[in-house]
């Protein structure tokens, strides 16, 4: 029984760890403040098109994660302590905000303000009271004396003490890792948050307050009262679509053309260096055989053997470059947009080549200067063969460097040519320099995206919010590493109640025609043009509702002709629409013949009796 109980407790703790709070919590707040709610951690995240998305960072856990990423073991007790101190810091910020807000401008406050401050400071002090070390230190005569000399109020004094402890702990952890927080170390860990507006036509970065230096875009509030698109607007949209298709085709053609140009240049570059490589290998093998055949030249063979491994390494890296380049050529132009592995491999080859050759030259020089070797004959045995290898080696180095340079030139030309395309593609998700880097101790607790200030946006667009940890600043650095710790798509749509006007055709049925002699209609239903003003609303939980069901209720204004005199009467009533206004049902009153009628409507683009339907707006609902 006891074992079972312990197992249960273990499972509870384990599961508790698994379902830990995420490092970043997203919340939505309407600009009026009437609505506030957390976005779900999984499943669809839907917000109103005019809302504010708040990004709340769990700084305590994030710093712990950053140190772990940097190399501190998860079992290090200092991480737990840092987390505790950071948790207190979050309360600390609340107190500082409160004091700054309430006490900054006036000395006399309502009593409730003192009570609020007392509650907040008690919460902080009671948390500290639980920690032996901190409590004992804070109540020690030295610290009491320090407070006596301080000009801060006690709670601020305590907060400064906590900040000092936290920073000292961070510094100790960084010192253990050999990272100097004052300079840009390639081992330094940075936290970054970026947001991107994405839709079918691509994407662009958007401003996240506190986390980047992008300027806010034009203020656009999506109106609550939307007209259907005019014919001119539809024409403009169609024109845009045609232009887009044409551009796509042209881009594909251009890509193919560039690919062939690129391939021909590439093929012209590589064989030459292959030749020099083969020549080096041949000279090396011949020299080695010759030097090994005579006892006096065997030491010279040793020089070759010492450098054989390096030559092998160069050969292997050369092959990697060749393979990478072929792969790059195959996937062109996409390879340009991705992680630039080819560039890294080129750098590696270049550095390896020069190191390997320098080592060989040094070894030959040392061999030449070796007194013991010269003492036998007065000359240096095997030097001739070593110099032959040197010639082949230097030739290989020179030619391969030319190849590298050639590849870089081609690569640069292509990159330059496609920069306009690359820019839009890369900005889809790349964390540019405008996105700020934060080290431990600097991370803001929160940020927000004000959707009204992100410029042009449409219903159904998505906002990608991603957070990463990076080791070092430069991707070119060999220590550079990026770890994505948060990635969430948020769909923007119209959730708040809004109005929409739309025209359609309905089938009207004057159901009590027997009691009204003015109705001469013989068919059960009559087509009638109708204009509706509907109130619509969206869902924060269901994409299906927003994209398919999309209900609306409102008033209908129609012109049936129930007495068949050729002059339409005026009718008005209530209507309900569904499936993005494609279907409608309702009830109305015909004021011309004083008769009620029920109706159903199908809001699809068709023309009947020479009457064009104005209902195509269902397909162009985005506004």
């Amino acid at each position: 029984m006891r074992t079972f109980f312990l197992l249960f407790i273990f499972c509870l703790c384990f599961c508790g760890g698994l379902i830990a709070q995420p490092l970043i919590i997203l919340t939505e707040e309407s600009t009026s403040g009437k609505y506030q709610g957390n976005l779900p951690e999984s499943g669809p995240a839907i917000v109103d098109i005019n809302s504010i998305i708040k990004i709340k960072v769990d700084v305590a856990r994030l710093e712990e994660e950053m140190f772990r990423f940097q190399g501190i073991k998860a079992t290090d007790s200092r991480l737990g302590r840092l987390r505790k101190l950071n948790e207190l810091t979050s309360l600390k910020n609340k107190i500082i905000r409160f004091i700054n807000t309430q006490f900054a401008n006036s000395n006399t406050q309502p009593f409730a303000v003192y009570q609020e401050l007392a509650a907040l400071s008690t919460e902080l002090l009671e948390e500290i009271e639980l920690d032996d070390e901190m409590f004992n230190e804070l109540t020690s005569p030295e610290v009491e004396q320090a407070f006596n000399q301080s000009k801060d109020s006690y709670i601020i004094f305590v907060i400064r003490y906590l900040e000092g402890k936290t920073q000292a702990l961070r510094n100790a952890l960084l010192a253990d890792l050999g990272v100097d927080g004052q300079v840009d170390s390639s081992l330094m860990i940075y936290f970054r948050v970026g947001a991107f507006l994405k839709n079918r036509s691509g994407g662009r970065p958007i401003h996240v307050e506190n986390f980047d230096t992008y300027a806010p875009e034009e203020y656009i509030e999506v109106s609550r009262f939307a007209n259907p698109l005019s014919e001119d607007e539809k024409d403009a949209l169609n024109l845009n679509k045609r232009l887009h298709d044409s551009l796509q085709t042209s881009t594909n053609t251009l890509s193919e053309h560039m690919k062939s140009v690129f391939a021909s240049k590439f093929n012209a570059v590589f064989p030459k260096s292959d030749e020099s490589r083969l020549n080096l290998r041949k000279t090396f093998n011949n020299s080695l055989t010759k030097l090994n055949s005579d006892a006096t030249t065997k030491p010279a063979a040793g020089v070759l053997l010492d450098n054989e491994l390096n030559i092998e390494r160069v050969g292997r890296t050369y092959q990697v470059v060749k393979n990478s380049f072929e792969e790059f050529q195959r996937v062109f132009p996409n390879g340009l947009f991705r992680e630039n592995t080819l560039e890294n491999t080129l750098n590696e080859l270049e550095s390896l080549l020069n190191l390997a050759y320098r080592k060989y030259v040094e070894d030959v020089s040392l061999y030449q200067q070796n007194v013991n070797i010269r003492s036998f004959t007065g000359t240096t045995p095997g030097l001739l063969e070593l110099r032959q290898v040197d010639t082949a080696y230097s030739n290989y180095i020179r030619i391969t460097n030319e190849v590298i340079s050639g590849i870089r030139t081609i690569f640069g030309e292509v990159q330059q040519f496609i920069t306009p395309f690359r820019k839009t593609y890369v900005q889809n998700e790349e964390l540019t320099e405008a996105i700020r880097r934060f080290t431990v101790g600097e991370i803001p607790e929160s940020g927000f995206i004000e959707l009204k200030y992100i410029g042009e946006r449409k219903m159904g667009d998505e906002i990608l919010i991603k957070a990463v940890l990076e080791r070092g600043r430069s991707r070119g650095n060999r220590n550079f590493e990026q770890k994505e710790i948060f990635r969430r798509y948020v769909t923007i749509t119209r959730i708040a109640a809004h109005f929409r006007m739309s025209g359609s055709l309905v089938l009207a049925n004057p159901y009590n025609r027997e009691s009204n002699s003015a109705i001469t209609l013989s068919n059960q239903f009559q087509f009638a043009p109708t204009y509706g003003v509907m109130m619509k609303w969206g869902s924060r939980k269901s994409k299906f509702y927003n994209e398919v069901v999309s209900l609306g209720v409102g008033l209908s204004f129609s012109s049936p002709d129930f007495n068949l005199d050729g002059t339409p009467e005026f009718g008005t009533g209530f209507m309900m629409t569904a499936f993005r206004d494609i279907m409608s049902v309702g009830w109305g009153w015909n004021f011309g013949v004083d008769a009620p009628y029920g109706f159903v409507g199908f809001n699809i683009p068709f023309t009947i009796g020479g009457l064009p339907s104005t209902s195509t707006s269902a397909g162009f609902f985005d506004n």
Binding site: I99, Y114, Q115, A119, E129, T139, F147, S153
Partner: protein, 169 residues
């Protein structure tokens, strides 16, 4: 009724004493009715520093203007008010065992004049494990004042001549 109480030291403007043992009880009752008070009993180690810090808690920018400390230093004064203090402590903390010999300080809220927080001479003697930190210190005096403020239902605001302008943090 606004009554002035003598200061113990001229520069500690929120640290008061009684006018002798004769009217100690009556004066104590006036004091705790008039102020958000912390009543400290007897002498203790490092008292100069801690009382100075306690005074600082009452005049700092975020302190309520009515925060005051009353220090009953003499045995006679303490003896005169001891039965009253014991009674109100027992009424307000019915679940606690009250040993008056182990009480160092008590905070009071002015509306009902009930005690709100106890600081002990030796907290380890208290059977309640939650009291183990409650030895006199600036930390505990701040908690005592906070408890009194939180329990106060309402209070009149008065001018606070020593109230400092709030620095922007």
């Amino acid at each position: 009724m606004e009554t002035s109480f003598p200061l113990i030291l001229p520069d500690l403007t929120r640290l008061h004493q009684l006018n002798g043992a004769e009217n100690a009880l009556e004066e104590l009752k006036i004091f705790i009715k008039q102020y958000i008070s912390l009543v400290i009993l007897g002498g203790f180690e490092n008292s100069t520093l801690l009382l100075s810090n306690g005074n600082k808690l009452c005049i700092e920018a975020t302190a309520h203007p009515k925060q005051r400390i009353l220090w009953l230093k003499s045995f006679e004064e303490i003896s005169a008010v001891r039965p009253f203090l014991e009674q109100v402590l027992k009424e307000s903390f019915p679940d606690k065992e009250i040993y008056m010999d182990n009480i160092r300080a008590i905070s009071f809220e002015p509306t009902t004049q009930k005690p709100t927080y106890i600081i002990y001479i030796d907290p380890s003697l208290s059977p309640d494990p939650k009291d183990k930190r409650k030895r006199i210190s600036t930390f505990q005096m701040q908690l005592a004042f906070n408890a009194a403020i939180l329990k106060t239902i309402s209070t009149d605001s008065t001018d606070n001549p020593n109230h400092q302008p709030t620095p922007f943090i």
